[in-house]
Structure formats: structure tokens, C-alpha cells
């Protein structure tokens, strides 16, 4: 191994040691379900704000968006705006209401006034589907990324990395529960913000803190001139691609507040006011972070030499930030370059660990609390039994994710993150919003919107160019779709289903509701609304 690889490996192992230590420490005063599922509801607004940032800012954001900006200029930036504005939906319509009316899962708020079993089954299904999609994308990314950052190409190392990341996340979740996971996310958020802020300052210093000069150099070096700073380089090629981006934009802005791993974070604060504060902190943090990625992306385009820039392009953009760190540290071969490269690589690694832990926890809690206890045991399982099941579920989900991620490496599954947002916006958000704002909403409406949104989003992607019909890239000879190039079942022209499936989710929720009568759901709306808006009767923090 070369010097920087030894350093990178050492920093990776420090991240592992630190997070494992935190998890063990957190597990020592974690006892009941409220501790295991909701961290005892004892995290302050600031702590939970950091943890939300840690849960949300994935490697796809950190490396992917800066990479997209480095390669496609302005169009990479378009992404991050949807990711940020989305937080206003969470702040205004979801966070406090959910904190006041639910307990542990997304399903709790619906089950408050509807038929328990069908609604919980639907919500748990959608929770697990969204989380597994997101998880798979992160795990496959982890294998590729660690191999890339360590500079190894062997399949064996990639598989080993996926296995190792999977084993770690199972450990965090089963041992540390929500407390351990939250602290891992807090540590990751601090590392990520500090690491990227450092590189941003170093990049800006090279241009005398003159943004215009940075942009000008980036445009020039990218070889694309002024178009690099204008929208359209990536999404503007045809009317279909433009509509495809609009479809993605809708899913990003409406999906965040329906992502189950984000929703359950709101339960970790003592009151709804703290939940609100935590979203405010998260908005500040996430906003700052996306401004950082703007500088990182354009900085990579401006400062990397031809060879490094070609390497970024070959990595699909993922290497933009790490190579930029190396460049501003003094370039390849220098000590400063090696240190900063290793640092950014370790930050990326911590990022992956924190996100996969959050996803595994979310789906395991939903399986134990919604499916096992409420559906199979009629709500009669003891708390200890439910927690035991959630630990087993975390292990099983982790293993499934590992087993799926290893063969999935051969496929281009980056679309799964966008699909997770589309499902969250089409299936979960309509149910959450109707439940809170519409007295008449009932079980059938909830089921139609959740299953309808879920099936239409996933179904449209199956018949989209992602799965079949794109054929072979004449330049690289690579198959551009998932299925073999000679099979073509595609008829839906867009890669992002949101523009159809989100309105459909809302429409089905409406139709399902007005086509059935459920007086008890309407009666209990009064109780739900009072509780949601005032916090009267909301779950209390655990006193230790």
C-alpha cells in the first residue's frame, strides 16, 4: 500500500472505532421501547437537528452532487435546491404534528384513527420498500467508493466492504438502537460539515474569495465554456429530458417529508417544539452543506488538472471532492494532499455508515412495532418481545441488504435513491397530509393512496427506460438499461415517475375516501387534531 492508502485505512478504522465505542456507550443506558425506538425522546432540538442532517446528507449528496456539478455544471446544482426546499414541507406540515400524534413509526399517526391492521400493514410495506431501495443504493455505493478511495479494483475487496458496512450497521442498530444510531449520525454530521467547510475555505482562498473568478475558471477548464454555468447541459437535451427533470424535482421536494427514516427522527425530541427547532437546525445545516457542494463542484472543475478531471469523469463524478481535497492540500504526492484526501475519504465513509444505520433501524422498528406486534399479535406482544423482534428484523434486513447489494454492484442502481423519494412522495405524503388536514379521510383512502402511490411509482419505473429499451451505448459498448439489451418492455418515456404517481397517490386517497364511510375515523379526527396541534396527551420523554 502507498502512504496515502495506509493513512486512509487508518482513518477509516478510527471512524469505525469511534462509532462502535459510541454505540456501546449509548447502549448502556438504553432500556425500554422508547429508548430503543426513539432514543428516549431525550435529544435536544440542536442534537436532533445534527442527527437529521447526518441521516439525510448521504454519500450520494456529498460525493454525488459535487461530482454532478463538477461534470455538468449548473444542472448538478438544480438537484440540491429540491433537496433543501423540501424541508419546508417537513417543517410546516409534518414534523410537529407527527411528534404529537405518533409514537415510533409513520404508521402510528394513521393508525390513530383508522383500522389498525390494514393501515399498519400498508405503511410498514411502504416503509420497508422505501428504506430497502435507499439502503441498496447506499451499500452498492459503499463498495464502489471504498474501493475507489483506497485505490483498489478487486471485486473481492468491494464485496468485503459491503459485508463489513452491513455488519457494522447491524451492530449499531441492534446494540445501540435509536440512541446509538443518533449519536453516530451526530458525529457524522459534525465530521461532514467540518471536513467540507475546510475544503471550501481552501478552494475559495485560491480565488481570493471571489466567486465569479472561481466560476469563470471552472467554465474555462471544463471545456464547455459559458454553457457550464447555465442550466440545460444535462437535462436540457430534449423536451422529454426536461419533463423528466421536472418529474424528479416534484419527487425531491415532496418526498423528503415522506421518507420514513426522516419521519422517525421527529420522535426523538421531548416535545413538538423541540422537533420544530431540530428541523430549523437541520435546514440551516443542510442549506450550508449544499452551498458547500456548490463550491466543491465548481472548485473541482476549476482546480483539477486534465488527468484528474478525466478520472472524476470516469468515476461518474464521485471522485470530484476527494481529488479536489488532494489538489488543494498540495497535489498528488504531497503530504498535505495525502492527509486531506484521506480525511475526505473517511468523512465519506462515516457518511455511509450513519445513513445505512438510520435506514436499517427505521425498517426494523416498523417490522416489529407495526407488523409483528399490531398485525400478528393483536397488539399484545410485550415490550421486551417487540424489541427482540426488532433486533432480529434489523439482522435479517441487514443480511438481505448485503446479499442483494453484492450482485447489484454489476447494475447501475443509482436511480434507486430518486425512486425512494418518488415512492415517499406518492405513497406516504398524501396519507400523512390527508390524515392531518381532512376529517373525512379514512382507512380505504389511506390504503388506496399508499398502495396506489407505491405500485404506480415502482410500476412506471419497471416500464421506463431505466429497466429496458435504452439499448447499448455506441461509445462504450455498455448496456444502458437494467435488462439485457434485446428485451424491451418500456412504454413509459420518463425515468422519474413522480409527475404521474404523486398526483395519482393524492387522487386515489381522495377517491378511496369518498367511496366509503367510516364514522369512527371521522370521530377520532377531533382527538387527533387536538393532540397534533396542542401536544395534549403526546408521548413524553423517558425519565432516567
Amino acid at each position: 500500500m502507498e502512504g496515502h492508502q495506509i493513512l486512509t485505512t487508518a482513518l477509516f478504522l478510527s471512524v469505525v472505532a469511534l462509532t462502535v465505542g459510541i454505540t456501546i456507550w449509548a447502549s448502556r443506558n438504553s432500556s425500554g421501547a422508547a429508548d430503543h425506538y426513539a432514543g428516549g425522546r431525550g435529544f435536544s432540538g440542536f442534537q436532533n437537528g445534527l442527527a437529521i442532517g447526518g441521516d439525510y446528507m448521504s454519500a450520494a449528496s456529498f460525493l454525488g452532487i459535487s461530482g454532478a456539478i463538477a461534470l455538468s455544471g449548473y444542472d448538478g446544482f438544480l438537484y440540491s435546491i429540491g433537496f433543501l426546499v423540501a424541508w419546508l414541507v417537513a417543517l410546516l406540515l409534518v414534523a410537529e404534528v407527527l411528534r404529537n400524534s405518533g409514537r415510533y413509526t409513520m404508521a402510528d399517526q394513521l393508525a390513530y384513527r383508522m383500522k389498525q391492521k390494514p393501515v399498519r400493514t400498508a405503511a410498514a410495506t411502504s416503509t420497508v420498500v422505501v428504506s430497502i431501495f435507499y439502503l441498496l443504493a447506499q451499500m452498492v455505493g459503499a463498495g464502489a467508493l471504498v474501493a475507489l478511495l483506497l485505490g483498489v479494483t478487486s471485486e473481492g475487496i468491494k464485496n468485503l466492504t459491503i459485508f463489513f458496512v452491513g455488519a457494522l450497521m447491524i451492530f449499531y442498530v441492534t446494540v445501540g438502537g435509536m440512541k446509538g444510531t443518533t449519536w453516530v449520525q451526530i458525529v457524522k454530521a459534525v465530521l461532514l460539515m467540518a471536513g467540507s467547510a475546510l475544503i471550501v475555505v481552501l478552494v475559495l482562498a485560491k480565488f481570493g474569495f471571489n466567486l465569479s473568478e472561481l466560476l469563470g475558471t471552472a467554465a474555462q477548464n471544463s471545456g464547455k465554456g459559458g454553457a457550464f454555468l447555465e442550466p440545460g447541459l444535462k437535462y436540457g437535451v430534449s423536451t422529454t429530458s426536461k419533463i423528466d427533470f421536472i418529474s424528479l424535482g416534484i419527487a425531491l421536494v415532496l418526498g423528503t417529508a415522506g421518507l420514513p427514516h426522516i419521519l422517525i427522527r421527529f420522535y426523538t425530541t421531548p416535545t413538538s417544539k423541540d422537533a420544530r427547532k431540530s428541523v430549523l437546525w437541520a435546514i440551516g445545516l443542510i442549506g450550508a452543506f449544499y452551498l458547500f457542494t456548490l463550491v466543491l463542484g465548481f472548485g473541482a472543475a476549476a482546480l483539477l488538472d486534465k488527468d484528474s478531471y478525466a478520472e472524476v469523469a470516469a468515476s461518474g463524478g464521485n471522485l470530484a471532492s476527494p481529488l479536489l481535497a488532494e489538489a488543494v492540500g498540495g497535489g498528488p504526492g504531497s503530504t498535505g494532499g495525502a492527509v486531506l484526501l484521506a480525511l475526505i475519504a473517511a468523512v465519506a465513509f462515516a457518511t455511509i455508515l450513519a445513513v445505512v444505520a438510520g435506514l436499517t433501524l427505521t425498517s426494523s422498528v416498523s417490522v416489529a412495532h407495526d407488523l409483528y406486534n399490531s398485525v400478528f399479535k393483536d397488539g399484545k406482544a410485550s415490550e421486551a418481545e417487540e424489541i427482540r423482534v426488532s433486533r432480529i428484523a434489523a439482522g435479517v434486513i441487514g443480511l438481505v441488504a448485503i446479499l442483494l447489494a453484492i450482485p447489484a454492484q454489476k447494475l447501475n442502481i443509482a436511480f434507486l435513491v430518486a425512486l425512494a423519494f418518488a415512492v415517499a412522495a406518492s405513497a406516504n405524503l398524501p396519507a400523512i397530509i390527508y390524515n392531518m388536514f381532512w376529517r373525512r379521510f379514512n382507512t380505504r383512502g389511506a390504503l388506496w393512496s399508499i398502495y396506489g402511490g407505491l405500485i404506480s411509482a415502482v410500476g412506471l419505473v419497471i416500464f421506463s427506460p431505466i429497466v429496458s429499451g435504452k439499448g447499448i451505448d455506441p461509445a462504450t459498448g455498455k448496456n444502458l438499461s437494467l435488462l439485457p439489451a434485446d428485451i424491451d418492455i418500456s412504454w413509459f418515456p420518463l425515468e422519474n415517475p413522480g409527475i404521474v404517481s404523486i398526483p395519482l397517490g393524492f387522487l386515489l386517497g381522495y377517491l378511496g375516501t369518498i367511496s366509503s364511510k367510516e364514522p369512527s375515523a371521522e370521530e377520532r379526527y377531533t382527538e387527533l387534531e387536538v393532540r397534533a396541534l396542542t401536544g395534549a396527551g403526546a408521548e413524553q420523554a423517558v425519565q432516567h
Partner: protein, 115 residues
Amino acid sequence: MTQDAHDQAARHDPVYDELSARPEFAELRSRYRRFVIPATAAFLAWYALYVLMSMFAHDFMSTKVAGNINVALVFGLLQFATTFLIAWLYSRYSNTNLDPLAKQLSDDYYESRER
């Protein structure tokens, strides 16, 4: 620990009907909706305008404002600014207009529990 969520669906607590009928609650609900519904409509429309213009108003978005900074970049950064602004306004609004009413009602709820 409160009752299991399972029992909650069958249980009905009349104190919620009482609270719901109070004029303070009607006021709280209307104040909450009066802020969040227009604010949500506004930021979604503002975001939609940004996305649509990025896709379909290429020439306007490419107009240079100062140096290499063009309208598209300014518009994008304005989305950040409005997000921060709406978040801050909502926080201020909740602190002064929503929280005191919510606290009064939930205090009454907990008092009725103790009786």
C-alpha cells in the same frame, strides 16, 4: 408509558371533544392554517417557477448579472434565501402566535387528567 397504540383506536377520551369545542382551539387551528397553507402554496409555486424557468427559459436564466454570475445562479441562491426566510418566519410566528395557545390547552388537558 401510556396505553398501547392498539388500545388507543378503541378508546375515546371525551376531554378532547371539550378541548376541541373551545374557542381557543378554533383560534389555534385557524392561526396554524392561516400561516402554513399560504406559505406552502407560496414556496411550492416559487420552486416550480424556478424549475420551469431552468428548463424552459434558458436564455433569460443565462443572462449575466455581474462577472460570471448569471440569473440562474442568483435565482438558485434566492431559493436558499427564501427557504431560510420562511423557516425563520414560521419559527417566530409559532413562538408568539401558536405556542402560548397550545400550551394553555395542553395544560388544561393535563389538569383534567389529575382530577
